[in-house]
């Protein structure tokens, strides 16, 4: 018995010493706190192979409860002044979170100056909206909610409605540990949901992983997409400079371009924000993932089909437009007499065939992203 006691106490001392030893090795601490048993649980985000490591704000980690709440709020019509629209009214899953309109239309039937943007892979966007007016989802989400020609309701009013509901206080308790709903928490939950809208299982992704499964036209289209023109020797379509792989956008790089739509700008785009002459007429190059689902095209929806888009880049770029992107200035497939990119009808068809491989049917039918109401 005596022996046993000694052994047990030795064991205790040794174990605590070992624990201490381990604890003192860990830098920066964080130990000592016991996790709240009822706290939110971490959301398991699946990042497709080859995508950059996403940056999630330290003060808004993804949790299952936060994402679920965000999804509900995304489709919550009481965040609009009329109670008739939600984020999901313009950002429709079946259209890769766009609305099929040239210009977005809000609760009062007034059109916005620009079209609804897809939310596909918005997690990686370092610049949000057509002109980079926002750099975080948490700050961006407030604008469409309060903008008079969008949902047209101060968020504080929406928050009061949520607070008075029978369901939301408990959902905020589960997600953020408080029943007191605030603007900040609504925006955080919405951002959490938006960050889960990941599209990375298109036929293009399968092709990149296996190098199989593409038709000859699709493969030729991919080559045109990713080829810079060497005038006179190598034909290309230059797409990848701005719509960079694997996200097929410039949102990750945070760059803006003038793609030669106009000679003078009714919408100055990025230049309207920075007031710099060199930014006039520049816009983000939005993602081409699911592009076949997001017509019409361009910031003002001027092109109804992908055929019209290819015709623009091939034949109708305004070569004298100020700040026109260098790759469009220099990308002349048929020198010395060619004046534009001049893709052939076959090349246009091949690029479009490739663009259609970017449609991700799993993404647009994923139940996790659908309207829960």
């Amino acid at each position: 018995m005596a022996q046993r006691t000694t052994f047990a106490s030795w064991l205790g001392i040794l174990l605590s010493a070992a624990v201490l030893g381990v604890a003192s090795c860990s830098s920066g601490g964080g130990g000592g706190e016991t996790p709240t048993p009822s706290g939110p649980t971490a959301y398991a985000l699946t990042v497709p192979a080859g995508f950059p490591t996403p940056v999630i704000p330290a003060d808004n980690p993804l949790t299952n409860e936060g994402v679920a709440l965000g999804r509900r709020l995304f489709y919550e019509k009481s965040l609009s002044s009329t109670g008739t629209m939600s984020c999901g009214s313009c950002h429709q899953q079946s259209k890769a979170f766009t609305d099929g309109r040239a210009l977005a239309v809000g609760v009062d039937g007034v059109a916005n100056p620009r079209g609804t943007m897809s939310l596909v892979n918005v997690l990686w966007s370092t610049q949000l909206t057509w002109d980079g007016a926002f750099t975080t989802l948490e700050t961006q989400a407030l604008k469409p909610i309060e903008n008079p020609i969008e949902l047209h309701q101060p968020l504080t009013v929406g928050v009061a409605r949520l607070q008075a509901s029978s369901t939301y206080p408990a959902l905020f308790q589960a997600a953020f540990g408080t029943q007191t709903i605030t603007n900040e928490l609504v925006l955080k939950a919405l951002a959490q949901f938006e960050r889960t809208l990941i599209s990375g299982s298109s036929r293009y992704d399968t092709y990149m992983a296996t190098r199989t499964g593409f038709s000859a036209d699709e493969l030729a289209g991919l080559q045109l997409y990713t080829t810079h023109i060497a005038p006179g020797s190598i034909r290309g379509a230059e797409c990848f400079h701005c719509h960079s792989q694997p996200l097929m956008s410039s949102n990750y790089e945070g760059k803006f371009f003038n793609n030669g739509l106009d000679l003078t700008f009714t919408d100055p785009g990025r230049g309207g924000l920075t007031k710099l002459a060199v930014d006039q007429g520049k816009f983000i190059a939005p993602t081409l993932r699911n592009i076949a689902l997001t017509a019409p095209y361009m910031h003002d929806g001027r092109f109804k089909t992908l055929e019209e888009v290819l015709d623009h880049y091939s034949d109708h770029v305004q070569m004298a437009s100020p700040n026109l992107d260098n790759n469009l200035i220099l990308g002349i497939n048929d020198p010395p007499f060619g004046t534009h990119m001049d893709l052939t009808a076959t090349e246009k068809r091949q690029v479009i065939a490739f663009l259609q491989t970017l449609t991700d049917t799993n993404f647009v039918t994923d139940k996790r992203f659908s309207d829960p109401f």
Partner: protein, 262 residues
């Protein structure tokens, strides 16, 4: 005899906990101390800080031009002591992007303590890294940074884009340098002089190296180019190698060595 298993167990625990405890002291005592070196790159055009806001710059030849994009990789950093021994920092790949001010500062950690009198780095990416599976490339090497050519040519090591404004009409220029296969390898090493200064690396001391990168030296080196005559290089080529040789020779200069930036 009855106690033997217990004492054996005890001994094992003692060993285990001793190992755990000594794990802490290991770094401080038996391994050589390490420190870090902070790098601060400043993109310049001659004596002016480079801006992407449409500011026009003038070359020695009297051409004027604006810059819209200036990006390049710094990798394979080596630090050399006065006795000639060298520390090669592993896995350092930094994309310096003028449009992202934060990208111009980075810190190389775990540098063995000592007085370093020389520095060198690759302007670009080594062939091993650039041949890697593009789908698995992390961070600054990821193709999403748009510093990567598709189809087996690897990374773009340096990208300069802008407009020559002294010609009529203005002339866009695009200079993308890359290529890792001989004879058209554009992997070059810059060895800017510390001008006699030493980098005193100690545990808990982080000397800082301020390095200027002068865009004009891309045109002006062993091979002279005018901006308007700069070949539009979009793939490995002899001209790419000439441009890379230019920027390896003269683009980088150490402007300040700070013994401790902390």
């Amino acid at each position: 005899m009855k106690n033997r298993p217990a004492s054996l167990f005890l001994a094992m625990l003692l060993t285990a906990s001793a190992a755990l405890l000594s794990g802490c002291k290991h770094d401080a005592d038996s391994q050589p101390p390490t420190g870090s070196v902070a790098f601060e790159l400043k993109n310049m055009v001659g004596q002016q800080a480079l801006a992407l806001d449409g500011t026009a710059y003038t070359t020695a030849d009297g051409e004027t031009f604006t810059v819209s994009t200036f990006e390049y990789y710094v990798s394979n950093i080596k630090l050399t002591k006065s006795d000639g021994t060298t520390y090669a920092a592993p896995n350092e790949y930094h994309l310096i992007n003028t449009a992202k001010p934060g990208s111009s500062n980075f810190t190389v950690s775990n540098v063995p303590a000592g007085d370093y009198t020389g520095v060198s780095f690759v302007v670009g990416v080594d062939s091993t890294a650039t041949k890697g599976d593009p789908l698995a490339l992390p961070g600054d090497l990821n193709p999403a940074n748009n510093m990567y050519w598709a189809w087996n040519t690897g990374h773009i090591f340096l990208k300069l884009e802008g407009t020559v404004t002294s010609t009529s009409p203005n002339k866009a220029f695009t200079c993308h340098i890359g290529g890792y296969r001989q004879p058209l390898s554009a992997i070059v090493t810059a060895t800017p002089s510390l001008n006699g200064a030493t980098l005193p690396v100690r545990a808990g001391q982080s000397p800082k190296l301020a390095v200027a990168a002068d865009v004009l030296k891309i045109f002006d080196g062993p091979t002279k180019f005018t901006v308007s005559g700069l070949p539009t290089t979009m793939m490995p080529s002899a001209a790419s190698v000439q441009v890379a040789t230019n920027y390896a020779a003269g683009m980088f200069s150490v402007t300040q060595v700070q013994p401790n930036s902390k």
